[in-house]
Symmetry: C2
Subunit: 138 residues, 2 copies
Amino acid sequence: MASQDWQTTLRAKGYRLTPQRELVLRAVERLGHATPDEVLGAVHEESAAVNISTVYRTLELLEELGLVRHAHITDRAPTYHSTATPDHVHLVCRSCGEVTEVAPEIIEPMTAKLLDTYGFVTDVGHLTIFGACQNCAR
Amino acid sequence: MASQDWQTTLRAKGYRLTPQRELVLRAVERLGHATPDEVLGAVHEESAAVNISTVYRTLELLEELGLVRHAHITDRAPTYHSTATPDHVHLVCRSCGEVTEVAPEIIEPMTAKLLDTYGFVTDVGHLTIFGACQNCAR
DNA sequence: GTTAATGCAAAAACTTTGCAAACCT
DNA sequence: AGGTTTGCAAAGTTTTTGCATTAAC
């Protein structure tokens, strides 16, 4: 059922089902958070050869369809994650690089205030908070 | 006085005072938020020729010294801003690109909770919140 | 005079694009 | 069959690096 979902979403907009698209989506789901390059690597481990440009095009497509999202967790490449996982905020430690996923509820007081004061609707799924984790903070 | 500050900071760590470093720092202060490329452009307008690689090296140095900071406001290049301006959070509208600066107090409830729950110390100056501004939200 | 910093040019890393061949429907 | 998608290769961007020259101290 969930496995049909993405197929339906693709077809709904007239896009075709290809093994590459399935492989990329699966890789993103499996990896949790991954750069285009890491997605390519993961797909290759599946003993499948997909071109890097296809990975880029596919990630763009999947994001347009709302099946994946990206966030800027490192200073370099964007990292993609599946939207099948519930929305979450990323806490990224500047020292050790650890990434913690946090339920969006924790920032609800803030999003409420931003809406209230500025009429700003926070895109929770895209939020990355940098700082120092418990271990590195002291 | 403030104009001496950065000179002192540089010397304190044994770095040298160069016109390029002053030009880059001034450009960042003047521009508010700027990519390395925009900094280069601004410096050139000062009728001074500074190489792009010097801009990169200088921004890195200034950041190490705590004189500038960077945040990821767009999906592409990082934007640098002076730390002379008080810490602030960036609200970025995904539709129109508008960037609003917000006092850190507004997110204090969130940072408190993150500290409480995860021992996570939020780096407020680096925080960029994506979403939809008042005009674009509806 | 020493040593760090700059400019330049080349390389590296990352992403995009054009086009013919292959594949989905 | 017909139009979309892929692979490949080449080009575009952005950032980094090595090294000789220049400039700060």
